[in-house]
Subunit: 322 residues, 2 copies
Amino acid sequence: MTTARAHANIALVKYWGKRDEKLFLPTNGSLSMTLDGLYTTTTVELAERDELVLNGETQGPEALGKVTRLLDLVRAMAGSKAGARVTSINQVPTAAGLASSASAFAALAGAASKAYGLALDDVALSRLARQGSGSASRSIFGGFVEWRRGERADGLDSHGVPVVPQSHWDVRMLVTVLETAPKSVSSRVGMRRTMDTSPYYPGWIASAAADLVEAREAVLARDLAGLGAVMESSALKMHASMLAARPPFTYLQPASLAVIQAVWAWRAEGLAGFVTMDAGPNVKVLCAATDAEELAARLGALPGVEEVLVCGPGPGLSYEVS
Amino acid sequence: MTTARAHANIALVKYWGKRDEKLFLPTNGSLSMTLDGLYTTTTVELAERDELVLNGETQGPEALGKVTRLLDLVRAMAGSKAGARVTSINQVPTAAGLASSASAFAALAGAASKAYGLALDDVALSRLARQGSGSASRSIFGGFVEWRRGERADGLDSHGVPVVPQSHWDVRMLVTVLETAPKSVSSRVGMRRTMDTSPYYPGWIASAAADLVEAREAVLARDLAGLGAVMESSALKMHASMLAARPPFTYLQPASLAVIQAVWAWRAEGLAGFVTMDAGPNVKVLCAATDAEELAARLGALPGVEEVLVCGPGPGLSYEVS
């Protein structure tokens, strides 16, 4: 019986599109910040057959199937045929509508590999987690993390790499939770449609490589304005690539746009926040630790904003002794 | 003393970017619908010096300068050095925030060329109007109009061409006027920034050529769903190209997005409207004449919508006998 914990992460340079859907190999590298406060704790114990209990509720075949797929990879490495009981708790407010798949598959990779007697290093865990959810490859590490695109067809060189540790830079990510309906296009379907039909997709791939270099340098230099500029550009290019798909689609909601424009207006007045958005309506705002309180208060007062979560840089994968 | 009238037009395949800023030569061809009900009436009489009276108010050097620039082209053709008093009335509700430059420069080209004794045909008038405002090249003609990109450096082959006359197809364009602040980035500056910094601009140019063919065929076949699909794609690609600029910018307002999403939701229920947007927050909705009343009522009831103007296909340039 092994318990592992992994934290959520927010991409500053976005991942949008797979060059290999089976192995979860991305078309471009990405860079993220691991978040403290938002994490998944997962316990794996060997059992007769696979079972998944999430936040106290036994899950049906769809969710279980994804877990079994990752367990199969672990079993193949371990030469085992045993089933596993997976018990997982998401410390991410349900209302947040945040993709918990990154922290979930990172924690599962850690707990399952140990439960089956494997001793994988972080790079191997990152490769494994990647095959549950691409962005999970980054949640193995703390601080700021790059997920290398890699070149190999087998994916061995496509994994997370720590850029700087959690203690390097005391910034905050404000997660603005909006009151909205569930999304109608899954990220998987959205990526596929963008790659297949958007005339902007080649421009996305081409510019992402430069964005990655720019973001990495800004993180190393603790240059908030520099990181903010490339972070906003990457996020808006990702969303723009979808608007150019046929048929067009968007995760932007009126309230998302209102938050973005408010942040831009406050920045013009000297309060420096920088926006990013993933495949959902919530807007995340990067800022200096010293501006977090003021910005969180202003964001919370905007119409349509349900909640604002304040997160600093978080730690990498850890294990609990039971 | 000559009076001419030209109507506004809405591009279905958008014009976004100039390959020659002085001659107003576009990077791609565009296709529009001329609108009845929204027009500019302009009178030109020769005078001591140039003067511009717009909606009863004498205009300052900025607006007058643009008019003088067009008058200079006319004077060069006519071999005249006379000044001109230009009196113009915009029959476009001020609140509409619609670009009146298309109808304004088309009417000015017509009235001024006649006042200076020239007898230009429609193609020559379209070339002339283009040099006041690109989209004015389309407002010389009625119905559905294509502005050909052209290949020549002197712009002689870059002008409007009628695709079908006003009577060909009884559709409606609903202009949804939103309560918003004035725009912060002019189209001229926006085009320039997009061309200079957006990695999506090559994809814009490349896909516009195919959009034009698709839109022209849909107009000829009176295929509303076909025209609607390519029209939405063209508009959203134009706006997406700006989101990908550095720094990013957008004319989309939260209320614009709310209108777009409402139109999409109604369409999913069977009420067929298709959206387009120009370099401003207002959303225009194309629909069958039989659906105009219902759609206009629904649009008018959305929060943030100030007014809905219902327009059919309009006529080309005409002259008034005084």
